[in-house]
């Protein structure tokens, strides 16, 4: 009931009710999001754990069961290949967008707008369409057949825009003072770029790379049509289908062999673990560098007021990439 006579009035109760309702609703929203996520993780664990054998990690897949060794190695190889190919191209692209594109006007707005827009368009491009293009052009058109090479190319195309975006963002967060200081000291453009700018943006770049890898390892649709699937690792880049984990989850959960059902959940668990590792490592990189960088906090303080973004950069979200 009303406590003070000054604020007493019919609207106060309504406002109090609406405020409390609002608070409750936001908590409910949070729970509605967290609960299915937690349920998902628990469910994957619960289905995989009862039949889990550590031998799954080092046994090959057989027609009646076996393990997932080659599939795990295959996923890791795909990630490594994407890291090298898409990493190089993406980081270079990000450098171009952040550093090298000359502003056309004196507006101060960075240029390279057209190239950035086109790069951004690719971030939301449907993966199945890229898979179809890969199938038509590389697998069938160039007669490579289902192959590692086709899969790497398509995955890289998918992931390069993400890496370019995070690289550009990290480079933009390097204070201009650093660049100006480097130039004042007489460093050549390349030298300054390498020794000063890239070095300070490195944590952000690496985080972006790790998060892009997390996206790449979870893809299924484009891989089905470029890598096919195989129980064992092939010996060549082309004309041989390639193993990876996500297909196991897609195709084996209701396969005729019961052992395959367990393998499907094992594969799901391993995928979740890989993604978790990548996310945790990227968080650690960022928090460690924040501690040492200027303006970083070494101890967390809880405040009720919203935090302002740090000058040396907010931790990058995986979610930032998907935007």
């Amino acid at each position: 009931m009303t406590t003070t006579s000054l604020s007493a009035g019919p609207s106060t109760r309504r406002r109090r009710v609406s405020t409390i309702t609002w608070r409750v609703l936001t908590y409910i929203a949070l729970v509605l999001i967290m609960a299915p996520a937690a349920w998902l993780l628990v469910s994957v664990l619960a289905h995989a754990a009862p039949h889990w054998q550590w031998s799954v990690l080092w046994t090959t897949l057989t027609p009646t069961g076996g393990g997932l060794r080659d599939q795990i190695v295959g996923t890791l190889i795909l990630m490594l290949g994407v890291f090298i190919i898409a990493g190089t191209i993406g980081v270079l692209a990000g450098i171009h967008l952040a550093e090298l594109a000359r502003p056309r006007r004196r507006s101060g707005k960075a240029s390279g707008g057209f190239l950035r827009t086109s790069s951004d368009i690719l971030t939301g491009f449907p993966s199945i369409v890229l898979g179809y293009v890969g199938y038509t052009a590389l697998v069938v058109g160039l007669h490579w057949g289902f192959s590692l090479l086709a899969a790497l190319i398509i995955l890289s195309i998918m992931v390069i825009p993400y890496i370019a975006k995070t690289t550009e963002n990290s480079l933009r967060q390097v204070p201009t003072g650093y660049r100006e200081g480097a130039e004042a000291l007489g460093m050549s453009m390349g030298y300054g770029l390498r020794k000063v700018v890239l070095k300070s943006a490195l944590p952000g770049i690496v985080t972006g790379l790790l998060l892009a890898l997390a996206i790449a390892c979870g893809e299924t649709a484009p891989l089905i049509y470029t890598a096919g699937f195989s129980p064992t690792l092939p010996h060549s880049l082309t004309h041989a289908q390639f193993p990876y984990l996500t297909y196991v989850v897609y195709a084996y959960y209701n396969a005729p062999e019961t052992q395959y059902h367990y393998l499907a959940f094992d594969a799901a668990l391993i995928l979740v673990v890989i993604v978790l590792l990548l996310l945790v490592v990227s968080r650690m990189i960022v928090s460690r560098t924040q501690r040492h960088a200027e303006g970083g906090r070494t101890r967390t303080r809880s405040r009720r007021r919203p935090r302002r973004p740090e000058p040396t950069g907010e931790p990058l979200d995986l979610v930032d990439l998907r935007r």
């Binding site: 027609p63 069938v140 057949g145 699937f229 064992t232 209701n254 005729p256």
Partner: protein, 374 residues
């Protein structure tokens, strides 16, 4: 003068004979060369070693898995890599050349044959298909005619206790639950043979409106669901009371374990036949004489006494023009092993999946096709 003419005639004769002899021998030699694949006494060539990739029919997948194990025991240097992706994929990937052997329950369509003259469908075994259902309380073989199944899948019969079903099955208590018709969402040979059965049994209804293919425009029956693969059909039917689904006979054990029952289907003579070894073999036997050299024939809905109506050849879709002689040898070896009644076509493998062996005439025809793979 006469001597000279005789000598000339003799010379001419000798030349003609020599030329004829050369021509004949060259014909003999070349024909021996074109039938270059020589079958050893065992009937199976030794492979060059390596992996032979197979993909396609989920109906044939359990058998190919068994074959892969047996083949690898006989030839340890060779492996068969199998996958269950659907007959449509088997045909497509064989067309593309991305895999070596495509397994399909469906023979090639004329358009595919004309676009790929090198592609062959080679019968390797005889299989069948059941129509299974999940009707609580009913574990017997319901008598369903082809026309009735067609009406169910068109959404014209919607409850299990409908009069059409009840009148064909007196004495069976049918619950009042809706029928959920399951179909295959992937491009499937099972769909092909099932819809061929419906088209032949109900030509004016299903045949005119829908037809048969590996993918068809399924009529909008209430609650109809698409499932992926034969195992998807089994698990989907298990999870959906009231469902009816067409499932390959190689999944009989799983079907029964899932608590489903399968029907006695109406055949061309109007009899209701349960799929058994005898009924499947009877249906197949009725078509042996008519099977052409290229293996393209439908064994469905024959006018055969006590023959089960949904029976088909399992085809290996292979191109006769392979990229290398060793690949061709590997493929030939696998297929020769598969159709040989001592090895792949023996009852030790086939009985595990409820298939029937190929009749000897068809074996000879398949062998001829296999030997043409170069």
């Amino acid at each position: 003068m006469k001597t000279l003419m005789r000598a000339t005639r003799l010379k001419r004769g000798a030349i003609v004979t020599a030329v004829a002899g050369l021509a004949l021998s060259s014909v003999v030699i070349s024909s021996a060369a074109s039938a270059s694949a020589k079958l050893p006494k065992s009937g199976v060539e030794t492979p060059s070693g390596g992996t032979v990739t197979e993909t396609g029919s989920t109906l044939m997948y359990p058998l190919f898995n068994l074959w892969a194990g047996g083949y690898n025991t006989k030839f340890p240097s060779s492996t068969i890599q199998t996958a269950a992706t659907g007959s449509g994929t088997g045909i497509s990937e064989a067309e593309n050349g991305t895999i070596a052997i495509g397994a399909s329950d469906a023979y090639l369509s004329p358009s595919v044959v004309s676009a790929n003259p090198d592609l062959k469908n080679i019968p390797t075994a005889i299989s069948a298909q059941m129509v299974a259902y999940n009707v609580p309380g009913v574990l017997s073989h319901l008598k369903l005619s082809g026309k009735l199944v067609s009406e169910i899948y068109q959404g014209q019969v919607t409850k299990w206790n409908a009069s059409q079903i009840a009148s064909a099955n007196p004495g069976v208590t049918l619950p009042n639950i809706p029928i959920v018709a399951l179909h295959r969402s992937d491009s499937s040979g099972d769909t092909f043979i099932f819809t061929q059965y419906l088209s032949k049994a109900d030509p004016s209804g299903w045949g005119a409106k829908v037809g048969y293919n590996t993918t068809v425009p399924w009529p909008a029956a209430p609650g109809a669901l698409g499932e992926n693969g034969n195992s998807g059909m089994v698990s989907g039917c298990k999870a959906t009371p009231g469902c009816i689904a067409y499932i390959g006979i190689s999944y009989l054990t799983q079907t029964l374990q899932a608590g489903l029952a399968y029907s006695a289907l109406g055949n061309g003579k109007g009899q209701y036949v349960v799929p058994t070894q005898t009924s499947i073999a009877a249906e197949a036997a009725g078509f042996v004489k008519k099977t052409p050299a290229n293996g393209t024939i439908s064994l469905i809905y024959g006018n055969i006494n006590n023959g089960y109506p949904i029976v088909n050849y399992e085809y290996a879709i292979v191109s006769t023009h392979q990229s290398s002689t060793s690949t061709a040898k590997n493929i030939r070896s696998v297929l020769e092993w598969a159709i040989n009644s001592k090895y792949g076509n023996s009852s030790s493998y086939l009985s595990q999946v409820n298939f029937q062996p190929l009749p000897s005439k068809v074996v000879a025809q398949s062998l001829k096709q296999i030997l043409s793979i170069q």
